[in-house]
């Protein structure tokens, strides 16, 4: 008794999709201390943005920060540069941006839900979720022209226009997708074994969430009403039927249900965008050089994404600073682990949906 055992979790682990390292000090399988290391995939993207690339090219560089929230990263940077240079973006472009950013959210949330199911040992559901996710990927491929590197949003508007045939195709696929997602939500809500595994595990209370600045679905699952889409005016989300979704449990089960409900809401928003897509230009030319500094907050699938840029009337920006949602969620994870059983750790980590390529960039 009283003998401590060190258990490393990561940087390579079967349950983890990405390299994060936790070193647990355990006493009889109960965790008493934890250390975290997130810097395994550092690529120096911020430095590259402020030395090698011109400000018009940085959008393509930050899209490569992360494959899952590629749209959000570009959107954050592009919004920032547009605010700095006072560019008036056409309405059609804004609506198309809502469309892709919501589709991006759907596929990221489905991935997170699938992975949590996999870690709970539910391989069937994981496969099924990923099967449904594939149709979203196909949609994004049709709209943007690539599966992962979308490169859709650019300073001044968007790169590609929507055609009527494409719209018809999207509507058809969305209808199928909605049925599938409703089915998935039902499974995630009512499945007996998932309820048993997830209810009451890794509970983040509302006070804890507020104190530790939790962002994204974990915060909303704890009952904290935080969503950048409602707080920061960067895209017309109110016009397309955005709903803030919160739950009260704060455990893994509720986090997944928040995701499932957000997927349904996102599908609704995509439909509304297609219904009310205004006519007109999709792009305005951006001229001049950026001067001054600004910051922008964007709701990435995982939570609040923060961009700070500073320019001094040069082609190359002075500073690009990215703060990603996963980084904001690490402190609460650390607090959560103390006193938890080691066997609950993988499920808890994955339920926060950590994205380490964003965090270390």
């Amino acid at each position: 008794m009283g003998k401590r055992i060190t258990v490393p979790f990561g940087s390579q682990h079967v349950a983890l999709p990405e390299p994060v390292r936790f070193v647990f000090q355990t006493e009889n399988e109960r965790i008493v201390d934890v250390e975290v290391d997130v810097g395994y995939v550092h690529r120096g993207i911020e430095k590259a943005c402020s030395t090698r690339f011109k400000y018009m090219q940085v959008g393509y560089v930050v899209a490569r920060v992360c494959g899952l929230c590629a749209i959000s990263h570009t959107l954050g940077y592009v919004t920032a540069i547009e605010r700095l240079m006072e560019v008036e973006v056409p309405k059609r472009a804004l609506y198309l941006r809502v469309l892709v950013s919501e589709l991006d959210r759907i596929h990221s949330h489905l991935l997170a839900m699938g992975h949590t199911a996999e870690v709970a040992g539910y391989e069937n559901l994981f496969m099924q979720t990923f099967r449904y996710r594939e149709s979203v990927m196909e949609l994004l491929e049709l709209i943007t022209g690539n599966r992962v590197q979308f490169d859709y949003v650019c300073p001044g508007g968007v790169n590609r226009d929507m055609t009527t045939e494409l719209e018809k195709e999207i509507r058809k696929k969305l209808k199928e997708l909605e049925e599938k997602c409703l089915w998935l939500k039902d499974v995630f809500e009512n499945d007996f074994s998932l309820n048993l595994r997830w209810k009451g595990v890794g509970v983040v209370t509302k006070e804890m969430a507020k104190e530790m600045n939790v962002v994204g679905p974990p915060a909303r699952a704890a009952g904290l009403e935080t969503d950048v889409r409602a707080e920061f005016n960067y895209l017309p989300f109110e016009e397309v039927g955005f709903k803030l979704i919160t739950r009260r449990g704060g455990d893994i089960y509720d986090r997944n249900l928040v995701r499932a409900e957000e997927v349904i809401n996102s599908i609704e928003m995509v439909k509304n965008v297609l219904d009310g897509l205004p006519e007109g230009e999709i792009k305005v030319p951006v001229k001049g050089l950026p001067e001054g500094e600004t910051f922008v907050r964007v709701e990435a699938p995982r939570g609040e994404l923060f961009y700070y840029i500073k320019g001094t009337k040069k082609m190359v920006l002075d500073r690009v600073r990215i703060r990603v949602p996963t980084f904001a969620n690490i402190p609460v994870m650390k607090k959560l682990f103390i006193g938890m059983d080691y066997s609950d750790v993988p499920a808890t980590v994955i339920s926060f949906d950590p994205c380490l390529s964003c965090t270390a960039r």
Binding site: Q57, N124, Q128, G145, Q149, D151, V187
Partner: protein, 134 residues
Amino acid sequence: MKEMLKATIKNLFSKPVTVKYPEEPSPPPIGYRGLIVYDESLCIFCTKCEMVCPPGAIKFTYKDNGKKEFHYNPYLCIYCGECVRACPKPGCLTQVENTAEPAVAQDIPEWNLIERKAEESKRKFLAERAKRKK
């Protein structure tokens, strides 16, 4: 649990959603972003594409008589299509739907050499032009 069990049994006897790729073709969808095709007869050598290219996959080298030559590295290209949008002559640069074939090092252009040559020849050309102006 019942729902998932039903779906699992159904999946056991239904066709897979995946494509057996090497045997069956897996064509890219319409409008897929692929390689950049260059038409020299239409080019006006404004080098706008070289300036906007994010990874620097397009380079122009300057010959002694002041003419420029277009170089493109399909293995460095990120297929963003920025050069096509920047090109003032429609049809000179176009984006096709297929991507670069897998290749070994020998088939890929020696890009470091071309980059260095492009930079040197550009500097030389500009210096000569400045001398002539004087």
